[in-house]
Symmetry: C2
Subunit: 503 residues, 2 copies
Amino acid sequence: MFDAAELGQRVSQREFKEREVQLRTKLLTLQYRTHELARFPVLIDFAGVEGAGKATTINMLNMWMDPRFIRTIGYQKPTRAEMARPRFWRYWRDMPPKGGIGLFLSGRYSRPLLSRVYGDIDEPEFDNRLSEIIRFENALVDDGALILKFWMHLGRTQQEERLKELEADPLRSYQVSEEDWKNHEHYDDFVAAAEHLITRTNRSAASWHIVEGGNENYRHLRVGEIIAAELSRHLEVQERKAAEDRPPTRVASPDMPKVDTVFDALDLSLSVPKSDYKKKVPAVQARLGELGRKAQAEGQSTVLVFEGPDAGGKGGAIRRTVWSLDARTYRVFQFAAPTDEERAHHYLWRFWRHLPRAGSVSVFDRSWYGRVLVERAEGFATEDEWRRAYNEINDFERQIVDHGILLLKFWMHIDKDEQLKRFKKREKSPYKHWKLTDEDWRNRELWEAYKQYGQDIIQYTSTKKAPWILVEANNKPYARLKVLQTVIDHLQEKLDGPAGRPA
Amino acid sequence: MFDAAELGQRVSQREFKEREVQLRTKLLTLQYRTHELARFPVLIDFAGVEGAGKATTINMLNMWMDPRFIRTIGYQKPTRAEMARPRFWRYWRDMPPKGGIGLFLSGRYSRPLLSRVYGDIDEPEFDNRLSEIIRFENALVDDGALILKFWMHLGRTQQEERLKELEADPLRSYQVSEEDWKNHEHYDDFVAAAEHLITRTNRSAASWHIVEGGNENYRHLRVGEIIAAELSRHLEVQERKAAEDRPPTRVASPDMPKVDTVFDALDLSLSVPKSDYKKKVPAVQARLGELGRKAQAEGQSTVLVFEGPDAGGKGGAIRRTVWSLDARTYRVFQFAAPTDEERAHHYLWRFWRHLPRAGSVSVFDRSWYGRVLVERAEGFATEDEWRRAYNEINDFERQIVDHGILLLKFWMHIDKDEQLKRFKKREKSPYKHWKLTDEDWRNRELWEAYKQYGQDIIQYTSTKKAPWILVEANNKPYARLKVLQTVIDHLQEKLDGPAGRPA
C-alpha cells in the first residue's frame, strides 16, 4: 500500500514557487466560496508516521489560506472534562461550523492505532474502534460535510534519516522525542496496522490520501492540490444542491387516518390519590437526594430525556425530580429554535455540548427527538434527514450508555381530552398562561400525526441499551411518582449493582 | 450590622404554605416576563456564614421558578483552564444570558473574604480585590443587569448549634466539613471582614441583603420576597426603557470637519525595499518561531489586537506573524456581526470567551474596539454606552496585562489614497475581491469620522499597561516587519526579562 509513497518524490524550489502561486489563489478562492455558501464544514485530518512533516504542512495551509476561517487542533491525552464524556465528545466540540475548516492532528485515529501497535487492544477491538469512527464520519458526511484524511508516509530508512537529521538541527531537535524513537522500532507493526486502518475507513467523501513526506516542497504542494481538487468537486455538488433548496413546507396533516399505536395500549386511568402522593413523596425525594449525593461523589453522571405531547407534565415531573438534588449538580435544558451558532452545526451538536460533567445530571426537556418530531412535521428536515436520524440517535445514545452514563428516556403521555383540559386551565392561570402559545394550539391540530411519529420513535429507538419509559400521565401524582421511582431504581442499580441494596 | 439578623425570626409551617403560594406565582410571572423581555440578565449571589442554609434556599428557588431559565453554579478552586485566564474569566463565562437567571454560590466574594480572614492578604489588598469586583459589577449594571447579593447570617452560638445539629443528622452530616469548624473558630474575624466587604460593595442595582438564616421557612420566604420585589422594580424600569427603544440610526457623517489627529503625525512614507524585506524576513520569522516555542513551553500567553482602516494590511500582517508559530498554539478571530448567543450578553463577553489558554496566542482581527468604532458610527451603541466603553475596555485590558498575558495592540494606518488604490486592486484580484464588500465602500465615506474615533481611542485607551502601537502601513514590507519586530521584542522581554538576551 505504501510502496508508491517511497519513490523519493521531489519538487525543486523554482517549481514550488510557480505552482504555489496558482495553488494559493485556488485554495483561497475555494475557501471563500465555502465560507460564503456556509453549507458544510471541512474536516481535514493528518495522520502518518513520525517525522513525515504533518505539523509543517498544517502551518503552510494556514499560511496559504485565510486563518480566520480555519481552526487547527492537536489532541493530547484526554483532560478530565473530556474523560467525563463519551470518547467522541471532544471531536464534536471542536467541529468547525458550516463554511469553516478544521485541521486536526493526532485526532480520532491516533489512539486506536497506537493502542493496536502496542498490543493494548486486539484486532476485533481495533475494528470496533474503527467502526465507531466510521459511524461518526458517516453522520457528518450524510449531513454534507467534506472529510479529507492524509496519511503522511516515510519509508523505514527515510524515517530513521529524518529523525537523525532533526536531532542534529539545534532549532528543531525539540521535535524528536524518545517516544518517536520507540515508535520507530515498531515501524513494521505501525505500517501494518495503518494499512488495516486505511482499508477499513476509506470511503468517498471521507477518503484517505497517502502522501510521501520526505520532501517538504512536494508534500506541501501535494496536500494543497488534493484539498483544492476535492474541495472544488464538493463545492460544485453543494452549490448545485443549494440552488435546489426549497423553503420548508409543513408535512404533517390534521386529517391523517387514525392507526393504533403503542400509546393506545396505555392505561391512562392509572392514578394515585393526592393524599397518598403527599404521604409518599417526601421519602421518595429523600431517597433520591441520597442517591444524588452518592452519584456526585462517585462521578456517576445521568442524562434524563423528557418527550411527549404538550402539557403532558414534563415540566412538573422535571421540577419534582431535580428538587431533591443539589442545584449545582444538575442543569435543565429546553430546546426551542436553535441559535445561529447551533444552526451552523450538525443537529446533534447542540446536544453533545450539554452532556453532563462527571457526577452531574443533564435534564433535556425536549431533545434530539425534535429531529423526528417537529422537524419532520414542519418539513425542516427532509425525508432523508429524518429517516436516517433514528440510526444517528441510536448511535448517539449507545455512546452515552457505553460510557457508563445513566440514560433514561421518559415519554409522558396524555390523551387529547386531558390536553384540552390542561390548555384551558393554563389560559386562566395567573402564571401558567405564559406556558401556552399559539404554537401549542397549532400542534394540537396535528395530534394524530405526532402520535404516529411517536410510534415510529418508540419502534426505532427503544433499544435494549436505551429503552423508552412510557409514563401514563393523565394523573399527575401517578406520573410524577413513576418518574421519581424509575430514576431511583436505575440510579440505585447503577451505584449499588443489580443486587445492591440501599446502604 | 448583623444584630438585626440575630432576632430568631421564624415562620410557622402554616404561614409558610400560605405565603409560598402567592410568592411562587409572583416569582414565576416575573421570571417569564424577564425571559420574554430578554433585555437583562439577573445575577443572584449567595454568601454568608457556614450553616446558614445557602444551598437549600438555592434549591428552593429552583423549585419555585422555572429551572430551564436558571443556571446554578458553585465555584471551587480554579481549574487549570481557569488559572490560565484572568480571575474574572470564569464569572464572565458563566454569565446568564439576557432574560436568564444565574444563582451563584461561593462566587467572586468567597476567595477575597477567606483570604482576608486567614490573613493571606492585608487590608489594602482586600480593598483592591473588592474594587475589582465593583468594576465588574458596574460594567454589568451599566449594561442593564440586575445583581442581587444575599448575606445569609447566623449568630456565633446559632452557628455552633446549627453545625452540631447537622452533624447529628445522618442524612445531612456530610454537609459539615472540618473546614466549617475551622471557620467557626474564626467567626469574629469572619464577621468583621464581612462587614467591611458589604459596606464597600453595596450599591443600588447591586445591593446586599442580609438575611437571618436560622429558620428555613423564614429564610426561603425572605430571600424569595426580596427577589420578587427587586426584580419587579427592575423589570418596570427596563420595560419602560424597551418601549422607548428606537432603531439605530447612523451617527457618523461624511461631512465632518477635518481635525488634526495623531494619525496625521505619522510618517506614512516610511518604507523598506522589497528585496531588503525578503532578505530580513526569514531570520525574523525564525526568531519568532523560537520565542513562540519557548512561550508555549513556559505557559506565556499572548493577545494581539489589530485595528485600523479597511485594507490597512491587518490580514497580511497577521498571516506573516502567525506563520512561524505552531498552528495548534494560535487562533485568529475575526469579529463581524455578533451571533445571537453573543448578542444575548454584554458586548465584552464574546472577547472574554476567546482569551488564550496557557502558552497560546489569540489574534483579534478587529476587536472590542468595535464598540467605539462601528457601533458608535452606526448608532448600535448609544452615546452613554460608547462613552463608558473606554473605561470598560481599559479595565478589561488591565486584567489581561495584570494576569501576565502579553497584550499588544496594533493600529495599522494608511492614508485615504492608499486605501483607494488597494480597494481597486482588490476588485481586480482573482481572490481578493472576496475581501471587498459594499460595506467597505460605505465605511470609506466615513473616513474622517473613523479617523476621529480612532483619535479618541488612542487618547483614552493608550495606557501605560496597554499602549497602542501605531504602524505606518502604506508600505506593506515596512508595516509587516514593524509588527513582527514588535512582537519579538515584547515577547523576548516577557520571557527573558528586560535585560535578557536570546539564548
